[in-house]
Every structure is written in C-alpha cells, then in structure tokens.
C-alpha cells in the first residue's frame, strides 16, 4: 500500500514536470513563430517559462489535492485514485495549454500561486500553535471532568495513582498540582539564581572590561554551553554534580540525596548562562554611547557607570532576558527527569528531591500507550499549565527584547 502511494506521488511529480516542459515549449515555439512572422511589435506578457511553471503548479496542485482527498475520504480506492489523478491533472494541463497566448499573464498567475503557497507555509506557524492549544485543551477538559480545575490548581497532594482496571482497588489518586508547581519553582529559582548573576556579569565583563581578543575567544566558548543537548547536562548532573554536592554536604553534615533540587537547578543554571549573557549583552550594547560618555566625563569609574547609569536603563531588557530564561528553566525536561527525582515533596528545601511539571509529564506518559485514564490526561493538564505559563513569560519578554533588538539594529 505504501509503495503504491509512493508511485502515485512520483507520478504526480512526473506529470507536473512533463506539463511544465510541454507547455513551455509550446509557448516558446509560438514566441518564435510570432517573431519570425513579421516585425509586429507585440510583446508577450510573460516569458514562455511562466506558461510552463503555471502548468507545473496547477498539475501538482490538482494532483496532490486529489491524492490527499482520496487518502482521507476513500483510503483504499487505488485504481480510482490513479484514474482521477490522471484525468484531473490532464485537465489542468489542458486548461493552461488553451490559454497560451501573448496577452495571457501567466507570470502573474504563477506568482499568485507562489505567494499563496508561501502564505500557506506561514499559516503553518499559526496552525502549530492552534494544534498545541487545541490538543492540550481538548485532553485537559476531559481531565477536568474528573478532577475539578480548582482542586487541580490548589491541591496540596500529588499522587497520580488511579486504578487502571475496574476491579483494581487502587487509590483514588490525588491530583493537586501545588507540590509539582512548587518543585518546578524551586528548581527554576536555583537555576536563575546561578544563571542570572553569572550570565549578567559575563555580559558586563565582556562588553566593558574584556579586550576584543578575549571577547572573541570567550564568547564562543560560552556559547558552546548553549549547544550541548540537555540530556548531556542531565547525565552530568546525575553522574558528576549530584555526587559532588552530596560529598560536599556530607562533609558539612547534611544528608543530601544525589537527586536533589540543588544539583538539577545548578546544572540547569549553567545551561542557561549563555541565554542570559547573550541577551543581556545585546541589551547593554543597545544603551546609547552618549550615556556612557556622560558618566565617564563626570569621572565615574567603569563599574559606577555600569551600575548606576547603564544597568538602570538596560533594566527592562535585562528583565526580559530573565523572563525568557525563566520560561526556559520551567520547560526544561531532561535535566530534571534525570537529576531531580520524582518525589512530589511539598517542600521549599533545595536539598530534597522534588519533582517538576515536566518530570511528571514524562512519568505519566512514558510507557503507557493507553489514552483515557485520568493519569494520562493529567499529563496534558500539566502540559497546558506549562504552556500557559511559558506563553505569558515569552510574550512579555519577546516584546521587550524586540524593542532592544531594533534599537541596536538602528
């Protein structure tokens, strides 16, 4: 069956290229004939190629349209599909063929096709967002039919152990998202606590103090951190940082499990450093030089200029950078899955193991392909919460950052 589909697609491709070539040659020949027949100053509106392109596009459009329709509506009518595709595309080709004439604005039609295609492609962006929103909301609504939204958002207990069979006396399950959200928040706070000051100071150091050479070397090195897959950071947290923190705290007499909010948070912070440093760098560089000059001319030192003049004017942009970083930290998955543990402790203690929204989504959805237990749906509800939070953060941040980016471009 799949082979046949492939052949059909190939057929459509061949037909559209054939149509292109044929009609283009027809148009070419007519142009030539016209030119030889006399000095008539009639120009062809469109280059012969465009008559060809138009044919190719129409044939492909009709072909793929029929292909999609058949696959959706009459999935198994292979013969009918082939016949109608052959008929439909020939018709499209013929239609264009009939139109070939000096005055026919084939280029304009072709360009309209191109623009429409491009429009459709950018429409996919919206479609993706809609897809996300609808799939999250749809499944979440089913979840909220079981667990009231209010309980979900304010419940203090997270223990998603519902029965999978009717005769299983499992537990009623507790779907209070507070411990999960709290855990997410703790890890995010630790991560920002690391990445915020470090990233900001890096941006300041590189833009104010470092020599051009140092900047050229250091910047790409720090950017490497941004390119490392999160699963690698997770492994690092699990294998190296967690035990290191544990050894360190053992020496201090505190028992810290290797999977703790602290190790996940710290490693996540390291991962986010480049995000904050490069965004802050943009923002700091966007502060007009005249302000810097003004402060220097008054005898301010670099740090005074930075702290008292540049930083305050860059503050909104820096806040935006932080918001983006927060959004990133909240949505980060692999590090916490591997290094934060799964216990939904209602705690503010960074030394304990906590769980996050993303960890719970993974825990609830890996494995079980079944699709209507409250448990599975709970993952979508958590996903919705995650999406809503990050959406708000992103939009606020992106608006602000965009302003700075434009300033720095101007």
């Amino acid at each position: 069956m799949e082979i046949i589909q492939l052949y059909t697609l190939l057929l459509i491709g061949v037909l559209s290229i054939g149509g292109f070539a044929y009609n283009r040659n027809v148009a070419r020949a007519s142009v030539r004939a016209l030119r030889q027949s006399g000095p008539a100053e009639t120009r062809w509106h469109s280059h012969p190629n465009y008559h060809g392109y138009l044919t190719g596009w129409s044939v492909a459009l009709v072909g793929f349209g029929l292909f999609i329709i058949f696959n959706l509506v009459f999935p198994n009518q292979v013969a009918l599909q082939t016949v109608s595709i052959l008929l439909g595309t020939s018709l499209a080709g013929l239609l264009v063929f009939k139109k070939i004439a000096p005055a026919f604005p084939a280029r304009i039609y072709t360009e309209r096709f191109i623009k429409t295609t491009l429009l459709a492609l950018s429409g996919l962006a919206i479609l993706t967002t809609f897809g996300i929103v609808f799939s999250l909301i749809f499944e979440s609504l089913r979840f909220f039919a079981d667990v009231p939204l209010f309980d979900f958002l304010t419940g203090l207990k997270w223990s998603p152990q519902t029965a999978v069979r009717s005769d299983q006396i499992g537990s009623s399950g507790a779907f209070g998202a507070v411990p999960v959200l709290l855990g997410t928040f703790i890890i995010m706070a630790i991560a920002i606590g690391v990445a915020g000051p470090v990233g900001l100071m890096i941006a300041i150091y590189l833009s104010e103090y470092a020599s051009r050479r140092m900047r050229a070397i250091v910047k790409p090195i720090i950017e490497i951190l941004a390119g490392i897959p999160t699963v690698v950071f997770g492994f690092f947290a699990l294998l190296t940082v967690g035990p290191a923190i544990r050894n360190l705290t053992d020496a201090l007499g505190i028992a810290v499990p290797t999977q703790s909010a602290l190790s996940a948070g710290v490693v996540m912070g390291v991962m986010i450093i480049p995000l904050i440093s490069s965004l802050s760098d943009d923002v700091i560089n966007a502060v007009p030089r005249s302000l810097r000059d003004g402060a220097y001319a008054l005898g301010a030192t670099k740090s005074e200029t930075m702290k008292q003049v540049i930083f305050p004017s860059a503050l909104p942009g820096i806040m935006a950078a932080f918001l983006l970083a927060i959004s990133r930290a909240i949505g980060e998955t692999m590090i916490v899955v591997m290094a934060a543990g799964r216990a939904a402790n209602l705690t503010g203690n960074p030394f304990e193991s906590v769980t996050t929204v993303t960890v719970q989504i993974v825990a609830l959805l890996t494995g079980g392909p079944e699709f209507d237990s409250t448990k599975t749906l709970a993952a979508f509800a958590l996903g919705l919460v995650l999406f809503a939070i990050t959406l708000i953060l992103n939009i606020i941040a992106l608006r602000t950052v965009r302003k700075y980016r434009e300033v720095s471009l101007a």
Binding site: M1, E2, I3, I4, Y7, T8, L11, T82, K157, S159, P160, Q161, T162, A163, V164, R165, S166, D167, Q168, I169, G170, S171, S172, G173, A174, L238, G242, R246, A255, P257, T258, Q259, G341, R342, A343, A344, N345, L346, S353, A363, T366, G367, G368, P369, E370
Partner: protein, 327 residues
Amino acid sequence: ADGGPESVETENSIRVVGSSTVYPFSTKVAQEFRNKTGWNVVVESTGSGGGHRAFCEGIGPNTPDVTSSSRPQKPSESKLCQSNGIENVVEIKIGYDGIVVANAIDSPSMDMNLSTLYLGLAKLVPNANCEMVENPYETWNEIDPSLPDTKIEVYGPSPTSGTRDAFVEISMEGGAKTLDCLANLGSDDFRVAAHTLREDGHWIDSGENDNALVQTLINTPTAIGVFGYSFLDQNTDKVKGARINGAEPTFENIATGHYPVARSLYVYVKGDKMGSVPGLHDFAMEFVSDEASAPGGYLEKIGLVPLMPSERLDMREAVAHLSASNL
C-alpha cells in the same frame, strides 16, 4: 502504476509491551531471538496493566503482539481482549520472581513482617481502638522499635505495574490479615483497607523504570524501594533486600516458597496474529526453550527463577500445539 507488487499485510517487527519486571527478560529473549532468526523485536516497558490494556486494544497492525505481565491476566482484561475481537491469547508462564523491599547497601538492614509493611504503607490503619484512621506513622520505628528512626519513604511501582498488584495482594493483604482488628471488617471494607496505599507522600510511584529506582535508592540512603527480585540479583553490589517474615530474599527461598512475597511471571501472545506476524510463533517458543528458561539458561543468569521442569514442558507443549492448530 500497476507495477507495484500487491503487498501482503505483514509487519516487519514484533512488538512487545508490558511489565517492567519482565522487561529485562523480554529484551534478553528479543536479543537472542534476533540473533538466531533475524526478526526485529521492539520492546517497550509499559507496566503489566498498561501492557494488557494496549495488548487488548485490538488486532490491527499497530497493536502489540506480545505483552508480558508479572501477574496473571485479570478477568476484566481478558474480557476487554474478547470484546475487541482477540480470541486466541496464549498465556506462557516463564518463571517466578520475588518482590523485594530493598534499600541501599550502606543503609541499615531492615527486618520486617508483612504487618509492618501494611502498617507503614496502607492509607487506612487501625488505631489503638481498632478504628480505621488515616495512617499516622511517619517513621519506621514508630511501627516497630527495632527498625531505624528514618522517615517512611517508599518508592514503589505504579498501578500499571503487575508488581504493584502482586505486592498489594500478597504483602499488604497478607499483612492486613495478620491484624486482628481488621478481621472484623466486612470483605469489601477489608479489601479497600488492605489494597489502598497511602497518598500522603510516603509512598511514591516510581514509574516503570526499575533501573532509575535502584539509582534513587543509592542516592537516597533513607529510601526504600519495592521491585522485582531479578533487579536485586543484578544489583547486589548496590542494594540489599529486607528480610520479610524472617526470610532473606534469595533464589532458593523464592523457589522453595520460604520468602513470602513471590509470584509468577507471564508472557501473553496474540495467537490471532501468528499468521500475519512471521516469527511471532518462534518468538513465543524462544521463551520456553531450554536455552532461555531451563536452569542454567540465559534468563536464570539474569535473575529469573525458573519453572519446575514439568511445568516448563507443559508450557512448551501448549505453545508448540498452538502452532499446529493455527498455521
């Protein structure tokens, strides 16, 4: 485009889902089977419950061909299978497994009774007046002074897992039965009392990945984990099992039944798909082959307690017979 050969509805791989306890055994069998025959096998760990659910969803090409389970299929599950047109399900018992209550090797050893487990983990427990109340115990030594003064923090399998069912049925219910107060309850109330685990954070669903659980135990010295014996067997350098009712979880104790928390492991094969999934029958045979499940077979080496020889021969007979009737 009439050149395309009319392709038959065959699948190019065998899909296995099911118990995380059986996962190491099914992957091992899958690997050996592939080496011997070249058939591709895909194994996903979903938990016994999740496995049965997916397995019984239908007989289409996207449904699993095999599910493994650390408990027998429940009537409700076989009903689901039937209602979805799955007539021919072969049950293969592949061996035994104990359920161990383990902690990190450096942590203090635990010596428990079934009742300790019940009192530590049930949602409702009797108080001094034999009234059922929300579980008040915070640390182990509140239940049994000989146990350490550590927080009750048990990482155990989630409801999709057969280990969970078995654990609840054998140790929780077993523990509940030893308590006089519960004897007075009606049978339904008793079931609820014995089968409901705490939801106040002392019992933590650890997901389907027993490997991660072992990791957690090493990392969290106070934590206790509930998982299959085979995992303990593979990780004796990292974790150790608690004695239960005086018995260590060992190979011998499980095989002989001295260790109280033990159950059988199963593999369920869709007989209906044996025609359309080439290799499926041979794959089922591999589970009961000498090389795999006889004493000294590769499954025993990774911790499966083998069946009695006669039992195994019966199993093999059943699978072999199926081929004759079906193909």
